[in-house]
Symmetry: C2
């Protein structure tokens, strides 16, 4: 097991009716920036409830709306300006990972004298941030309980993680009923994102982190059980609750402390999204099984077999190699059954984009040197091609 420094300071208010705890935001002051996306929170009533509680608590709120699914640095700048001009005391994201990620960097940029993109490129430049809070409406990124924020710069075709202890939300409110109205497509995509977060650290070079591997399997089994239930019965509380909490635990450090490894599939997906703005979970669902086939070898077969036996319940009486291959087939079949795309073509990336894909592969290579199985630009291009 690797050494680690554990710190997960975010408080979570989980469950039906926990929105009432939003009144605790008053501890930070009485001027709040409300950050949200395309307005679905106005349709489902969450916006009304949130603003009602803010008003009841004597809090004046300002708004940054229209945050993009892949939030843009320009939107961050806009939010930071609102904060500076209006002496904002705290930011409150209401939405999924996009709104929360945007709000996090807004909170830091409001306290930074320079372009917000500096802070994305180098989290150590974040020396101060407004308190960050969130009301989660989508089980997916886990941003509600960790210190990362993914921001896209379409000017440079970069989609990068800002990272700082100061970006941990002070508290997040997780009411599973708030995800009842999430579409089938976003439910599937969010589940794929959670699964990918776990797989990124489950496939680690650290062999002695037994406990962490078992914790990973717990979260994976939860996604596999409840993803299809949430699709079939959007109002199933048990399913929505298990997925929501799985999303937070998948990425808050619990699974990676002691068994950390640089991620493999997310970098390949992030650069695709920075060029083509595709849905994050869909990109991951397409790339993950192809990546698995690419890295399956004599050195990794035992780990894949462990995955097959412990997560997919494949009989241990089969041959190791067969279990390993079956585990990949099961992964692909699961994503397909969730209605997720199987190929890049389905999300608009075809053979005609081969030159661009080759360029992306070159650019992402530097991030894949220390991954579970290191990948070259040629390997990445091969994965992209097989995913077409």
């Amino acid at each position: 097991m690797q050494n680690f420094d554990y710190s997960i300071p975010t408080k979570i208010y989980f469950g039906k009716g926990q929105i009432e705890k939003l009144s605790k935001i008053a501890a930070f002051g009485n001027r709040v920036l409300l950050v949200y996306g395309g307005g679905s929170i106005k349709k489902n009533g969450i916006y009304d409830k949130v603003t009602e509680i803010l008003s009841e608590n004597g809090i004046e709120y300002f708004e940054l709306s229209g945050v993009e699914p892949n939030p843009r640095v320009e939107t961050v700048e806009k939010g930071a300006q609102i904060c500076r001009e209006n002496h904002i005391d705290a930011v409150l994201a209401v939405g999924g990972g996009s709104s929360i990620d945007c709000a996090k960097v807004v909170a830091a940029a409001a306290k930074y004298d320079g372009p917000a993109w500096d802070l994305v490129l180098d989290g150590s430049k974040i020396k101060e941030a407004l308190p960050i809070t969130a009301v989660l409406t989508l089980a997916a990124t886990g941003s509600e309980m960790e210190q990362y924020a993914v921001i896209t710069n379409f000017a440079t075709n970069e989609k990068l993680d800002a990272a700082s202890e100061l970006l941990n939300p002070a508290f997040s409110i997780l009411d599973p009923t708030y995800t009842y109205s999430v579409s089938k497509r976003q439910t599937a995509s969010g589940t794929a994102d959670i699964i990918s977060h776990v797989l990124e650290v489950y496939f680690t070079r650290e062999k002695d982190a037994f406990l962490q591997a078992r914790l990973c399997e717990a979260v994976l089994k939860t996604c596999i059980k409840y993803g299809p239930v949430a699709l079939a019965e959007p109002d199933n509380y048990e399913a929505r609750a298990n997925l929501m909490w799985a999303g937070s635990l998948a990425i808050n450090g619990l699974l990676s402390y002691g068994s950390d490894v640089p991620w493999s599939v997310h970098p390949m997906q992030h650069i695709l999204a920075a060029y083509y703005d595709i849905t994050h979970g869909e990109g991951l669902a397409i790339l993950t099984p192809v990546w698995m086939e690419k890295v399956l070898s004599d050195e990794t077969v035992e780990k894949f077999a462990e995955y097959g036996r412990n997560v997919w319940g494949i009989s241990p009486h089969k041959e190791t190699e067969e279990i390993a291959k079956l585990s990949i087939e099961k992964t692909r079949a699961f994503f397909a059954a969730m209605g997720l795309p199987k190929t890049l073509r389905e999300v608009g990336i075809g053979e005609d984009k081969l030159d661009a894909l080759a360029e992306m592969a070159e650019r992402v290579e530097k991030d894949l040197q220390e991954t579970y199985v290191p990948l070259t630009a040629a390997d990445v291009l091969d994965i992209y091609k097989k995913a077409l």
Copy 2:
């Protein structure tokens, strides 16, 4: 899944050499109360290392030594007095759960104008506490990462939990090599304690907390795998590291948030210990299988079968009832293989104590009304008798 408010603020510095992070205690001031037990930390060199780091950082330290395995309220009072007389800025426990529990209540009592036992009886009376820090030397109680402290009052034969958010350590240092010198007996007893902490919440009435049940199984499998390894090879880092981290995660709230239930076996063991000062993990190892047999019924058989299949790997092709019974046999056999006592007689409690046991059963009944399976005084006495 139940609603919950999640807060696990303790920072953990985990791994070889992490003792260097002890210098961070200087952030709280330069006068520290060092709390420890019977002196084993002097034999294994940890005391020297700790005091060296304190001195290097300009910290003056005072000592409360000789903390008992079941720490007594009189010792807490003594520590609180040292704090008051010497204007202590922070407490530092170096040891296992006993030292940490004692240090926690010392930290609160130092800021309380009244008897320390008040704070144990009613944690809401804890309005302030000195910062609490710990260097852990035993994988067992999990006190290093949670807000409880168990203190014994032999004057009233009570062993009770003090509980307060203010008792969460600010940070704890967990170096698995510090547990290499733990005796076989204490290693086995600590492992039984961890297992019991998990079982107390695994057997819950909450049926929809699927994720939490799987997380419980992850920790249980870790104990079952590494307990025997640590006994056979005390210097096995992998085993000591997995057990140490399992001990913290077993009780810090991760497993119980969303699936909470009042504990069953700990109350029966605590009252035994308050009368007879028996080793905590040994008492739990004796009582747990007997309790399981007592509560196994048509209503609980499916949960026991789940335990048998998922934790002990019993073939799902067997009959449910057989799997359930086998799961209890496996539990008992595991404790026996760890060298733990199987009967109360082995720890000095025989038939001649039946009157006292009946009195204990009467006293503990009130704590067992809302447990997984509620128990009457007659049930408890029956468990004690079968455990003789």
